[in-house]
């Protein structure tokens, strides 16, 4: 079975239940959306999927990627990419080296692959640049390319457009969604913005706030 499946996921911080019982199947190329108030456990759900959940949180249930249970794997072996609201480009590396960080070590023609990714982001020739000299939108595009170069089998979006202004937001959304669909990646997006959900066109879930 291909895609990303959540089954009966329950997340709790001590007595406080963050996510009671979350089940959802996301097909390849589908962009599902989770909405909900702040503190409703949306980001924890993504952290649970990619394996970076804080140790204080108790989790049960399962996540399967293309039919394989991944909830016991360390994050680096899950092949689930994530984009945050902040681009989190490594400030000590050039733009090209940031992309190189995402590229797997065994990849040949690294330089060509990096140039290709930059061209796809409309940033041809930016490899040697300092990330701090790029605009917000440019940085976010590099961040997406870095995630995609790692060849993930699924991708998570944690309010990825939250910090962009309205114009840029629509553009970025289109850019990210196009790449996700082109690569047929199952995608789970967390957002506050119903326009994001409309544009995604996939399943929409709302998390209850148990707090």
């Amino acid at each position: 079975m291909s895609g990303l499946q959540f089954e009966h996921v329950r997340l709790a911080a001590g007595p406080r239940v963050l996510v009671a019982d979350f089940s959802l199947g996301i097909a390849p190329g589908e962009i599902a959306t989770v909405m909900g108030a702040s503190g409703a456990g949306k980001s924890s759900l993504l952290a649970y999927a990619c394996g970076t959940l804080a140790p204080g949180l108790a989790a049960s249930g399962s996540v399967r990627l293309d039919g394989i249970e991944i909830s016991g794997l360390p994050p680096e072996r899950r092949r689930i990419g994530i984009l945050f609201q902040d681009d989190l480009l490594f400030p000590h590396l050039s733009v090209g080296a940031n992309l190189g960080f995402g590229l797997r070590a065994e990849t040949k023609d690294r330089r060509a692959r990096i140039e290709e990714a930059l061209a796809a982001a409309g940033l041809a020739g930016f490899a040697a640049r300092d990330p701090a000299t790029l605009s917000g939108g440019q940085r976010q595009r590099v961040a997406l390319m870095r995630a995609l170069l790692a060849e993930p089998a699924a991708i998570l979006l944690d309010e990825p457009f939250g910090k962009l202004d309205a114009d840029l937001r629509a553009q970025m959304r289109e850019f990210v969604f196009a790449h996700v669909r082109e690569r047929k990646l199952p995608c789970l997006m967390v957002t506050h913005d119903s326009q994001d959900a409309d544009a995604a066109g996939g399943v929409l879930r709302t998390l209850e706030n148990f707090a």
């Binding site: 680096e76 092949r79 945050f84 000590h92 701090a132």
Partner: protein, 558 residues
């Protein structure tokens, strides 16, 4: 997992010698030292200790100078914070103070001794024109019986330390917002700081304050240079007796070191009671509504006091630099009459070995401390659980327990194991004092690094160690190098651990400078003291220059 062992290894490496050292100080103090034929356990060694002439005076001097130096230092540091908060000078204090903090106690004390001596710089500047003195006047301004010069020498070094700690602690409380609130309620800046900030800030700097008190009560190198010699402070007495070749006073030395432990423990306890008393008295004052406009007039005094301390520190180093290149500099000339580099070339032969030991021990102890601290913090990060307050107390232990009280015992243990005077033992002794500082400097920036960088790297397929080496270490390069410079500076400045760890066979710039000080050739002392003062500054320079160079095209890391 192997990484999980590192915190325990670290604790064992630096608490082990402290604990073992204390045991081997206390046992002889209570009459048990078979190597010297002492097997009768009891308080008779203490009885002998108290029979020594001058002991009461020594204890009184220790307590008087220790408390005076600590209170004065805290007063100036706190006063400056109150008077300067929100001003440009407060923001630049951190940058100005770091180099002051780096200069070793001995170098500053030697410079200060020259500054205030009857034949010193202050007198020379006004002689013979104002004073008529063509020969040095006859008064005891260095090593005065009351210990005033000792107190002032300690204050010179302790104010920058406390102030840096206080400035850093402002970041942990909402200082700017609190000040703004108090100011809009009509409080003068000085009163606003004392009433709104200090009560929150004090608990944050309590441990550094105790460390200052412990150091002031038990300093040896500063006391040897600036303190009275008869009677000297208790710690000096203990070192003097322990090194007596006759061994007759060895057991009383151990008893004195044990008494020193009691003085520091009791001193900290007394200070704690003082804190409670001050808090009680001040509580009504905090809420009495007085806006403190009158208090504001003292603010310029507090700012001036700090500037004076910074200036005196600089002058002390300048004095040593001048002496190191003076061919002739007789009283009452304010500047050398003839200049030459002869002092350096003459000293070069004797200088090489202590300089090499200083450098190699500082480098090794700093490297070891960095590796241990980085691994401890990495372990903490992976478990996502910060070390609790008990770990902080453990870290401060070598800074709170008087050096003499555990180092004498640790040294006798080294002798028993045949390790005394070895390079490895010396590095280990230094590690005890370097490690806490490296940890304290590095822990906050490490914990403050956005954890999402590591999570994101993991989601990109990077295994934990790759994240450590390619993400965390480069992002933290600047604080890592600053921590290294601090560790290096601490090591270069260590006197007593070098004397006792080196077992007389290994000497450093610190031990040579102090022992030459009594010889009286200021030109040679100047060479040693100036070099000792320059090494930490060079380390700081490197710590700032290397990331600036490596990351010159990375604006996000500036």
């Amino acid at each position: 997992m192997a990484l999980g062992v590192v915190p325990y290894l670290t604790l064992a490496l630096f608490l082990g010698p402290v604990a073992a050292g204390l045991v081997f100080t206390l046992l002889p103090a209570f009459g048990y030292l078979p190597a010297l034929g002492a097997t009768q356990i009891g308080a008779h060694v203490f009885a002998r200790l108290f029979d020594q002439p001058g002991l009461t005076g020594s204890v009184a001097l220790t307590l008087g100078t220790g408390f005076a130096a600590s209170l004065l230092s805290l007063g100036i540091a706190v006063g400056f914070c109150a008077a300067a908060h929100g001003r440009p000078i407060f923001r630049s204090a951190e940058r100005l103070l770091a180099p002051l903090l780096a200069t070793p106690h001995a170098a500053i004390a030697l410079g200060f001794a020259f500054l205030i001596a009857p034949s010193g710089w202050l007198v020379r500047f006004v002689s013979p024109e104002l004073t008529g003195w063509t020969r040095p006047p006859d008064f005891a301004s260095v090593g005065d019986a009351a210990g005033i010069s000792l107190v002032l020498g300690l204050v010179l070094k302790e104010v920058p330390y406390l102030l840096l700690m206080a400035v850093a602690a402002h970041g942990q409380i909402a200082a700017t917002a609190t000040m703004a609130t108090a100011r809009t309620l009509g409080y003068s800046p000085f009163a606003a700081w004392f009433k709104a900030i200090l009560p929150q800030l004090y608990p944050q700097i309590r441990l550094p304050i105790y460390a200052v008190l412990a150091f002031s009560l038990s300093t040896v190198d500063v006391a040897l240079i600036l303190g009275p010699s008869n009677p000297p402070p208790l710690a000096v007495l203990a070192v003097r007796w322990a090194n007596d070749p006759l061994l007759d006073l060895f057991l009383p030395a151990m008893a004195a070191a044990s008494l020193q432990l009691l003085l520091v423990g009791g001193g900290i306890g007394l200070w704690r009671l003082g804190e409670a008393a001050v808090a009680r008295v001040a509580r009504p004052w905090l809420a009495d509504g007085a806006r403190g406009a009158a208090l504001e007039r003292t603010a310029p005094v507090a700012r001036a006091a700090l500037i004076a301390i910074a200036a005196i520190n600089a002058v002390c180093i300048a004095a040593m630099a001048l002496w190191s290149v003076a061919a002739a500099w007789r009283f009452p000339h304010a500047l050398p009459e003839r200049w030459s580099f002869d002092n350096w070339t003459r000293a070069a032969g004797r200088l090489a070995e202590p300089a090499a030991t200083t450098l190699s021990v500082a480098a090794a102890a700093t490297a070891a401390a960095l590796v241990l601290v980085c691994l401890c913090l990495e372990n903490e990060q992976r478990r996502q659980r910060a070390a609790g307050p008990s770990a902080l107390w453990a870290l401060y232990l070598p800074l709170l327990v008087p050096q003499i009280s555990f180092l004498l015992g640790a040294q006798s243990l080294l002798v028993r194991l045949g390790w005394d005077g070895t390079w490895g033992a010396l590095v280990w002794f230094h590690l005890l004092f370097v490690l806490p500082y490296v940890f304290l400097v590095l822990a906050d920036p490490w914990r403050a690094l956005d954890p999402r960088y590591a999570k994101l790297a993991a989601c990109l397929g990077a295994a934990p160690w790759r994240v450590f080496f390619t993400v965390r270490l480069p992002l933290l390069l600047r604080p890592i190098l600053v921590a290294a410079a601090v560790g290096f500076a601490v090591s270069v400045g260590l006197y007593l651990p070098t004397v006792l760890g080196g077992g007389g066979r290994l000497t450093s710039l610190a031990t040579e400078a102090v022992s030459l000080a009594s010889g009286g050739d200021r030109r040679i002392v100047g060479v040693y003291a100036f070099l000792q003062a320059m090494l930490p500054l060079l380390a700081y320079g490197l710590a700032l220059a290397v990331p600036a160079l490596l990351f010159r095209h990375r604006r996000g890391l500036r």
